[in-house]
Structures are given as structure tokens and as C-alpha cells.
């Protein structure tokens, strides 16, 4: 079939191209745009009718005119070729190699949007992943197939935390087929270098697929990048039977790009100018985590986002939190007093924790111990805010103990070294140690048998 070349460009903006009189375009179809100077760019159909077809342009529209620009439709949606060759490679936001390697050729080309997993076909994620980080393992346990984002703020140590999770969770699953898919979305080159360095030093690069779109590169590619990453992850997990951890950093940049297109299309904006469909759009990314009945592999997603002005009610963390199975929240105030990882466990949550802990997975006391630690820490923090008003002297004995508990909990439980890989038993034992600061009679969340068995009261 001979492809028609259109020269009917009507309007060009910095992200969109409007084309007149296209008869054959289909929704979501990929198109090739050729500029007068011979430069070629890709575009994707956002809407089409008899008068006008709107293309989203990947790349710089500078230099594009309405007279000489040519557009050819490819007849297919955006696809990414998958094969074993993608492992160990670094791609850009359009899936082109950005290392020195050759392009990947494969007959197996996958639509990057994937298809929704049939809810009936899902298997409930329930396998414990030991990250070696107490605030996560003990309080907000991660399980295989979960989507658990890190909510951070600018300047906080989310990169270190993400790297540590990748590094340490790997060890537990050494014997199994295990891969990391890393998607760097609009990150700066220093962050990119940090991760690449980590992967190379730990030897993880041989088990990784990396997609990078740097801060100075076209923002429209940020829309494509997470979908490429997940297409690669789905191939490895559900075709190759591997356990895949997908890190997407920073989803805030993704949402900004989404807003940019929406604004360019004059859409009715939702909260703070983000499009009304941002929830569904984010869901089409995050819901690609999981396990499937009858298949060995799994996709665990750890998206990282920076909350604008640390505001958890901002649309980006807000909508994310409604889709993901919990969140790990990094706190500026803990970071300031030198706690690493500065995870605020009270606002953090793992919705799938209960499935991944207990007798057969971690230890029988895990659930009630963490409940008690939560309650005690919440109480301790409340007392801490009380002193600001009434002073420490006015505290009752029990309040003083809670105050001490909260301090120790942050110093000994949450705080750990970047290279410290705590076993789950160690994490739980520290928890019991800390509880013994309080009176035994305050242990309302724990059954007496467990207190007898694991308690450290003298």
C-alpha cells in the first residue's frame, strides 16, 4: 500500500501539529513528520475528524512550518520490539538506543499501551520482598507484584532509597530470574549518572533495561517512556517468567508533560491545570504492575515522585495514592535531623502488607507488633507536639515514656545506613526492644501469648 504524504499542515504549536483533510488516520496511530531541512520526527494521533487531525509531536517543533512539512501515517500504533537483546541496554524516551549498541530488531513488536489485565486473571500479590530497610519491611512491607510509590520532596534522598531498595531486594531473589527496569523521566544527568553508576558497580547492569529521558530532552517523550519501560517489563515478567522491579523516576515530570499537552489542546483543566483524565492516565501505567494466574513472573512498580512544595494533597501524589497500593513518604523534618532513610511511617502505607507477612512469610508477631509500633509512635509524636504548649514538666510518666519511645524509634528503628541490609528478624527484634520502653499493660494491639514469646520486658 502506497502511503499518502500530507502537506496540509494548518497549525503548529510547540507540542502539537494540526493537519487538514486527512482521510486515513486512526486514533493513536504513529506518524512520521518530515521537515523542510530533512529532519524527521515522530507524532501520534490525538484525535481525528474529517476536517482536522491533531498530532502530538515527539521532539522539537522548532523549524517546522506549515508549507513544506510533510506527514506520513504509519498504519500502526506505537510499538516497541522486544527480545532478550533489550537486557543490559540503555534506550531513550522513544526506545532508540542511547548507548553505543545497535538498534534492537525483533519481529515481536508490542503496542506500548499494553492491554488491561483481566481482573479475573490477576493473582493476589503475597510474596514478601525483603528490602533490608526496617521502615519498609517492618512497617510498610513490600510484596511482589505491588505498586508502591515513593513520595518525596525536592532535595530529599529518594534516589538513595530507590537505589538501596533495588540493590538489597535483589539479593533475596538471587536464584530466580530477576530484572530491573529503570525509567528516568525528565531527570537531570547527575541523577542519571548516579543510578547508572550504582547499576554498573553492583553488576546489576547485566540484569537491567534502562530508559532515559533527560531534563533537556523533549518533554513529549516523557509520555512514551513509562509505557516503553512497562512493555519491556511485561515481556520479561510474563513471557520470560522473571521477577521485575520497575523504577519510574520522576513521575512528577510525567504529569507536567501531560499537562503541557492538555493545555496545548485547550482542554478544560481539572485541579491546578492538570487534565481531568490524569487519574485514568496514571492508572493505565500503574495498573500494569501485578501477578497473573498461571504465570511465574511479576512486575513490582516503585514509581518515585517529588511532591510540589511537599504537599501530599497536590493532584500528582493525590491521584497516585488513590491508584497505588500504598505509599512510602519521605519527610523533610526527619531528613533535617539526620535520619536516613527519612521515611515518615505514619503517613506511609502498604496496602498489601497483610498478605505478605505473618507466620509463613515473615514472623507470626509481625502484624500486631507493627500495629503497636504505629500506635505508640503516633502517641509519642502527639506528646512531642504537646510539650511545645505545656512544657515537658507537665507530662505524666506515661507520656514521658512515649516521648522517649518516639525519639528512640526514629534513631534506632527508622535510621539505618545506606549499606545496612537488615534481616526481617533483626527489624522485628529492634521493634520489641523499643516497645519495652513502655509499660507492658499498654500493649493493647498484641495478644498476650505473643508478648510472652517475643517481649523483652525484664
Amino acid at each position: 500500500m502506497v502511503k499518502v504524504e500530507y502537506k496540509t499542515v494548518q497549525t503548529v504549536t510547540n507540542v502539537l501539529l494540526f493537519l487538514n483533510g486527512v482521510k486515513e488516520a486512526s486514533y493513536g496511530e504513529l506518524a512520521e513528520i518530515e521537515l523542510d531541512d530533512g529532519r524527521r520526527l515522530n507524532g501520534q494521533v490525538l484525535s481525528t475528524n474529517e476536517e482536522v487531525t491533531v498530532l502530538q509531536v515527539f521532539g522539537e517543533t522548532s523549524g517546522m512550518d506549515t508549507k513544506n512539512t510533510k506527514v506520513k501515517f504509519s498504519g500502526t500504533t506505537f510499538k516497541f520490539p522486544v527480545s532478550d537483546e533489550i537486557v543490559g541496554r540503555v534506550f531513550d524516551g522513544m526506545g532508540r538506543p542511547r548507548d553505543d549498541g545497535a538498534p534492537v530488531y525483533s519481529d515481536d513488536k508490542r503496542d506500548i499501551n499494553g492491554s488491561p489485565i483481566n481482573p479475573y486473571a490477576r493473582e493476589e500479590p503475597s510474596e514478601f520482598i525483603q528490602t533490608g530497610i526496617s521502615a519498609i519491611d517492618g512497617m510498610n512491607t513490600l510484596v511482589r507484584g505491588q505498586k508502591l510509590p515513593i513520595f518525596s520532596g525536592s532535595g530529599l534522598a529518594h534516589n538513595k532509597l530507590a537505589a538501596q531498595i533495588v540493590e538489597q531486594s535483589k539479593v533475596l531473589s538471587k536464584k530466580e530470574n530477576f530484572y530491573i527496569v529503570f525509567g528516568g523521566i525528565g531527570i537531570n544527568s547527575e541523577d542519571a549518572n548516579f543510578f547508572m553508576g550504582q547499576f554498573k558497580n553492583s553488576g546489576a547492569m547485566d540484569r537491567s533495561v534502562v530508559f532515559l529521558n533527560l531534563a533537556a530532552e523533549p518533554s513529549m517523550e516523557r509520555i512514551i517512556l513509562p509505557r516503553l519501560a512497562l512493555t519491556a517489563a511485561e515481556y520479561l515478567a510474563f513471557d520470560k517468567g522473571a521477577h521485575v522491579i520497575v523504577i519510574l523516576l520522576d513521575m512528577t515530570n510525567y504529569c507536567e508533560a501531560l499537562r503541557e499537552i492538555s493545555a496545548a489542546r485547550d482542554e478544560v483543566p481539572g485541579r491546578r491545570g492538570y487534565p481531568g483524565y490524569m487519574y485514568s492516565d496514571l492508572a493505565s501505567i500503574f495498573e500494569r504492575a501485578g501477578k497473573i494466574k498461571g504465570k511465574v513472573g511479576s512486575i513490582t512498580q516503585i514509581p518515585v515522585l517529588t511532591m510540589p512544595s511537599d504537599d501530599i494533597t497536590h493532584p500528582i501524589p493525590d491521584l497516585t495514592g488513590y491508584i497505588t497500593e500504598g505509599q512510602i513518604v519521605i519527610s523533610r523534618s526527619l531528613d533535617k535531623v539526620g535520619i536516613y532513610p527519612s521515611i515518615d511511617v505514619l503517613v506511609s502505607l502498604s496496602r498489601l502488607m497483610n498478605q505478605g507477612i505473618g507466620k509463613d512469610q515473615t514472623r507470626e508477631d509481625h502484624k500486631s507488633l507493627s500495629d503497636q509500633l504505629y500506635a505508640a509512635y503516633a502517641q509519642g509524636k502527639q506528646v512531642r507536639s504537646l510539650i511545645e504548649i505545656v512544657g515537658e514538666d507537665a507530662l505524666s510518666d506515661s507520656d514521658k515514656k512515649y516521648l522517649k519511645f518516639a525519639d528512640e524509634f526514629e534513631r534506632r528503628f527508622i535510621n539505618q545506613d545506606f549499606s545496612e541490609n537488615r534481616k526481617i528478624n533483626e527489624t522485628l527484634d529492634i521493634g520489641w526492644d523499643l516497645l519495652s520502653i513502655l509499660d507492658k499493660s499498654e500493649m493493647k494491639r498484641i495478644k498476650p501469648e505473643l508478648i510472652e514469646k517475643y517481649g523483652k520486658w525484664k
Binding site: 486515513e24 488516520a25 486512526s26 486514533y27 493513536g28 490525538l46 484525535s47 481525528t48 475528524n49 474529517e50 503496542d111 499501551n113 499494553g114 492491554s115 488491561p116 489485565i117 483481566n118 481482573p119 479475573y120 486473571a121 490477576r122 493476589e124 507484584g145 510474563f238 478544560v268 483543566p269 481539572g270 485541579r271 481531568g276 483524565y277 485514568s280 492508572a283 495498573e287 500494569r288 501485578g290 497473573i292 498461571g294 494533597t313 497536590h314 493532584p315 493525590d318 491521584l319 495514592g321 488513590y322 491508584i323 505514619l346 502505607l349 496496602r351 500495629d371 500506635a375 503516633a378 502517641q379 504537646l386 504548649i389 505545656v390 507537665a394 507520656d399 499493660s441 493493647k444 495478644k447
Partner: protein, 586 residues
């Protein structure tokens, strides 16, 4: 001659030259025949929302009008099934098409080949009216599926099938009315956007008992009533919705996951067949219908999913069952409305939601109700909607429009959830407008003192909040002894009564009997200690540690052991009361 596509934008398409196109007709779009619904007419053009992924749809592809509105199939076989938003059976789709959902799949909601054992319940020559039972099929271990004369039909039974096995498409009865014959099959259809007719709505007078202490005691919902659960993410909306689906004493549960997580539906699918119904001991799945249109499934089908769910609920209501419908989350449904409205370029109302948002929400909750059925029976649909307000702030349009129409408000509180106080229903902000209606039932079926006890407990909790404010200024030590006592007892109510562990085998469900015992004991402790204070005993002199620990154990105690434990506690309270009396005299 069919129509053709002239525009595609996301889930909205425009078709031209479509024959006999009418508002809300179902159309088949494109070469794959994707399901769509006409939502606007403009001259010869029909604008439609498409219930499947539209990627790859091309201008000029054909469009066919079915001429029918969006309808659900109603027949034995619904119970225990899982459907998507437009009632396609997800279990069968997986068997046929694999684990990913592709566009263009066509499949009947109800199996046409399966045979059901039909027992006639009416005789030839009987005069029957719409809604009257003419037969019965055992659909699951818990549900007897009543075969009713469909709405709009009546007459004399000319023929009725003998007891035996029939498919849903076999004719099981023939009616004659003024010479007009109507064949009745087990399979009927009903348009989802139209509520099934009712003779009369009755005032809801019976509580839907949920086994959740904070709900059953303080903020009960009535059978046939409506309730909303707004809360920020992580506050436990889904856990509460699941708890209600598990333990509420409805006969049928319809659970609609609209735009929520896939794994949540999986959790229901894995746990419900294992869990046992409180009354009968049969698997919970045997009374449950699931509608799953998860967040990554097409957005228009999400809009349809709540209507599919409520229509199925009404169908079982008409058989005389008490049905509870959980819709999680109505906000995602509202967002689907917003998205489609945006694509239609309608003038937006608040926060981009369409101007008809409040009306749609009102219409949906209005489909709840306790209704009178032919033959003096009743049936009910209770609608419980989760709301996910942006940023947890309920001043937004979906929460506000919902609160205007529902009568129970369970306010989920992030601060409580962060301290792992679950269910995180804030006792100071929540309300139930049914308590007055239901008091009569509680008095008659549990104890005459129930309303009184409830009010006493609530006033202690309210006093606690006031005293805490004072304590923040003057310090705890400076408080009067009686205020300290209120704090002490309120803490028991909060920690040992309001809190409930959904993941503990025993605590997950509390009978009203157990609740009543707990309330009485807490009240007894409070009144005893209060008396002791009147005699001059201070709080730190009251040795109630042991008693408090025992009270904390009640929630983890099996139903049949509760009364002996409570006797034990009562004796201990009496003993300290006596000691107090001595102390006071000395």
C-alpha cells in the same frame, strides 16, 4: 446501509448517516464492532461514548445501530460471577481470550447452554400480575432465584413448565391477557439507566447490621437506605467496603469496583469463596455478584458500571431479598462523566464536572429503598458509595452532591488512619439520620436501654474532645478528677470498642449482642468509678488496670465465651466499687 465514523477523540466518536439513531441507543463501532452508546444527537450525526479502547479506529469505518438501549441480562447465573462495566463475563473472557482484555470481545453475560432446575410455583389458569413469583431455581447454596412475571406483563397462565431442567432461553410459561400471549423465559433484559418499577417505597425501619461496632452502634444504616464513605487515600475506604460486603446481614451483595485497583477485585475473588456467611456457614461468594471495571479499563464502561450494578441489585430486590450494593468509588464514576463531558466540549460546572453531576448522583442513590412487592412481601436495596475526594477535602463537588442525598455519612479521618485507628470513622463528624427510625428495632430486638447507652457513650466521647482542648492549655494534672475519669473511660471506648481489627478472625465481626455486653460493661465501670469519686476517691487510687485489660480482651473473645468473661468483669467492678465505698467512709 450503516453509518460511518467521521471523528475519533479518545473514547468519544461521531458517526454519520446512522439509521434511526436515537439517544442512548447501543451501536457497534468500527470493523471490530466495539460497543458504544449514543449520548448526543446533532443533525444526522450521532455522538457516542465507546466502552472499549478506541486505539486504531479509523475514519470511514462502519457503525451499526442495534436500536436497543444499554441493558443487562437478568437470569440465574449472576451470583458468583464477575462482570465488567457493561456486563461481559470476565471469567469466560479469560478462558476464551487469555489474560489481557482486548477490544471487540463479544460474549453473553449469561450462559445460554447451562441447565437450571426449575420448580413451578404457580399453576395453569392462575391469574398473575407483574412481579409475581411463578417458579424458583436454586442458583447457589444461599440463593433461591425466584422467577417472576416480568414488569409490564400480566394475565392468566396458559401453560407452565413442569419441574425439570431448562436453559435460560427455554419458555417456562405462557401468559394470556385479552387474547395476547406472552412467553416467559428465565432470561430477561432491563435497560440499566431506568430503575425497575416499584409499587411503593416504605420507610426503612430495620438496620443493616454490619458486625462493625462503630457503624452498628453509632452510625447505623437502614436496609433500603443510603450511605457514603468519603475519605482520603489510605484512610481505609476499601477495607470498610470489603468488611460490609463480608459481614453485613444482607441476602445478596453486589460489589461494584468502579475505576479502582485490579488487585482489590482479586482479593475479593480469592477471599470470598473461603469466607463463611455468618448465618448459614456457606461461602460468601454464593451471595455475591461482582462488577469490576478497574481504573485501567475503558472509562466509558466505568460510567456504565454503577448502573449495571444497581440494576442487578434491583432485580434481586424484586424477588424479596435485601440487597446491599457497594460502589467503590463513585468519584471515579463522576470523573468518567467529567472526562466524557470534556470530550463533548460541554460547558463545565464546578471543577470541570458537568452541570448535571448532582442530578446524576441523586438519581443513582434514589434507586435505594425498601419496597413493597406483590403478595405483601418486601425487598430492599441499600446503596453504600465510597467517595474519593481530591486531597481528602470534602468540599469538592462529588462529596458535596453525595452528602446532599445520602442519609448516613461515615467520615474517614486521615489522622486516625495514620495512628492505625481502624475503622478510621471519625465519631465526631459522622452521622446517621436513621438512628431515630431504628431505635425502635434496637429496643425490641436487643435491649430497651440501647439508645440510652449509645447516647451516654457518645456524650463521653464528645466530652473527651472538649476536655482534651482544656488539657492542652492547663496540663493534665490540673484537670478535675471527674474529667480525668472521662478521659480514662473514653480511651477505653476508643481503643477497645470503636477500633476493630478487620484482619483478626474474631474481632472482624461483632454481633449486636456482643456490642451490647461491651457497652453495658463500659457504662458500669464508668458509673461505679464516678460513684467512688463522689465518695472522695481519686482516679489514681482506683485499681482498675486488671479490669481494663479484661475489657480490652472482649473484642478478641468468641461470641459464646463473651458472657462468662463479662460476668467475671462485672464481679471485679463490683469489688472495686465496694472497696471504694469503704475507702470513702474511712
Amino acid at each position: 446501509m450503516g453509518g460511518r465514523i467521521v471523528s475519533v477523540s479518545g473514547s468519544v466518536i461521531i458517526a454519520d448517516d446512522l439509521e434511526n439513531a436515537k439517544m442512548n441507543d447501543i451501536i457497534l463501532v468500527g470493523d471490530n464492532g466495539l460497543i458504544g452508546e449514543i449520548i448526543k444527537m446533532d443533525g444526522s450525526r450521532a455522538i457516542a461514548q465507546v466502552y472499549e479502547d478506541t486505539s486504531g479506529l479509523r475514519l470511514g469505518e462502519k457503525v451499526i445501530n442495534t436500536g436497543n438501549p444499554l441493558s443487562v441480562e437478568l437470569a440465574p447465573g449472576l451470583i458468583g460471577s464477575i462482570f465488567d462495566g457493561v456486563q461481559r463475563p470476565l471469567d469466560l473472557i479469560m478462558k476464551k481470550e487469555g489474560v489481557f482484555i482486548k477490544s471487540g470481545i463479544k460474549m453473553n453475560a449469561i450462559d445460554r447452554t447451562k441447565k437450571w432446575h426449575f420448580k413451578p410455583k404457580a399453576n395453569a389458569d392462575d391469574d398473575v400480575e407483574a412481579g409475581q413469583e411463578i417458579g424458583e431455581v436454586k442458583e447457589s447454596s444461599l440463593v433461591k432465584h425466584k422467577i417472576l412475571v416480568p414488569p409490564g406483563s400480566k394475565g392468566k397462565i396458559k401453560k407452565i413448565a413442569d419441574e425439570g431442567d431448562y436453559t435460560v432461553e427455554d419458555v417456562i410459561a405462557v401468559l394470556e391477557d385479552n387474547g395476547k400471549k406472552t412467553e416467559i423465559k428465565m432470561l430477561t433484559k432491563w435497560p440499566v439507566r431506568v430503575s425497575r418499577p416499584v409499587k411503593e417505597k416504605l420507610p426503612p425501619m430495620i438496620p443493616l447490621l454490619t458486625g462493625q461496632r462503630v457503624i452498628d452502634t453509632f452510625f447505623p444504616v437502614a436496609m433500603g437506605g443510603s450511605a457514603a464513605i468519603p475519605g482520603p487515600f489510605g484512610a481505609g475506604k476499601t477495607v470498610i467496603s470489603h468488611q460490609l460486603a463480608k459481614w453485613s446481614d444482607a441476602d445478596i451483595i453486589v460489589y461494584c469496583g468502579a475505576g479502582e485497583r485490579g488487585n482489590e477485585m482479586t482479593e475479593i475473588l480469592t477471599t470470598f469463596p473461603e469466607l463463611k456467611d455468618q448465618k448459614s456457614g456457606k461461602p460468601l461468594m454464593d451471595r455475591t455478584v461482582l462488577i469490576a471495571n478497574t481504573s485501567n479499563m475503558p472509562v466509558a464502561a466505568r460510567e456504565a458500571s454503577v448502573y449495571t450494578a444497581v440494576t442487578i441489585a434491583e432485580y434481586y430486590r424484586d424477588m424479596g431479598y435485601n440487597v446491599a450494593l457497594m460502589a467503590d468509588s463513585t468519584s471515579r464514576w463522576a470523573e468518567a462523566l467529567r472526562e466524557i463531558s470534556g470530550r463533548l466540549e460541554e460547558m463545565p460546572g464546578e471543577e470541570g464536572y458537568p452541570a448535571y453531576l448532582a442530578r446524576r448522583i441523586g438519581e443513582f442513590y434514589e434507586r435505594a429503598g425498601m419496597v413493597k412487592l406483590p403478595g405483601g412481601k418486601t425487598g430492599s436495596v441499600t446503596v453504600i458509595g465510597a467517595v474519593s475526594p481530591a486531597g481528602g477535602d470534602i468540599s469538592e463537588p462529588v462529596s458535596q452532591s453525595t452528602l446532599r442525598v445520602v442519609r448516613v455519612f461515615w467520615a474517614l479521618d486521615a489522622a486516625l488512619a495514620n495512628a492505625r485507628h481502624f475503622p478510621s470513622i471519625n465519631w465526631l463528624n459522622s452521622y446517621s439520620l436513621y438512628t431515630d427510625n431504628l431505635d425502635q428495632w434496637y429496643r425490641k430486638n436487643i435491649d430497651n436501654d440501647w439508645p440510652d447507652l449509645r447516647e451516654k457513650m457518645m456524650s463521653l466521647l464528645q466530652k473527651e474532645a472538649e476536655i482534651n482542648e482544656i488539657a492542652q492549655l492547663v496540663g493534665y494534672d490540673a484537670l478535675p478528677e471527674k474529667d480525668k475519669l472521662v478521659l480514662d473511660v473514653a480511651k477505653i471506648i476508643r481503643e477497645d470498642y470503636l477500633q476493630q481489627n478487620a484482619f483478626d478472625d474474631i474481632d472482624t465481626y461483632s454481633s449486636t449482642n456482643k456490642e451490647h455486653i461491651m457497652l453495658e460493661i463500659i457504662q458500669l465501670l464508668y458509673s461505679t468509678e464516678e460513684k467512688m469519686m463522689d465518695q472522695g476517691v481519686t482516679l489514681d487510687k482506683i485499681d482498675n488496670k486488671d479490669i481494663k485489660q479484661l475489657i480490652a480482651r472482649i473484642r478478641y473473645t468468641k461470641e459464646d465465651e463473651v458472657s462468662s468473661l463479662s460476668k467475671d468483669i462485672e464481679n471485679k467492678i463490683a469489688r472495686i466499687g465496694k472497696k471504694g465505698a469503704l475507702h470513702g467512709k474511712s
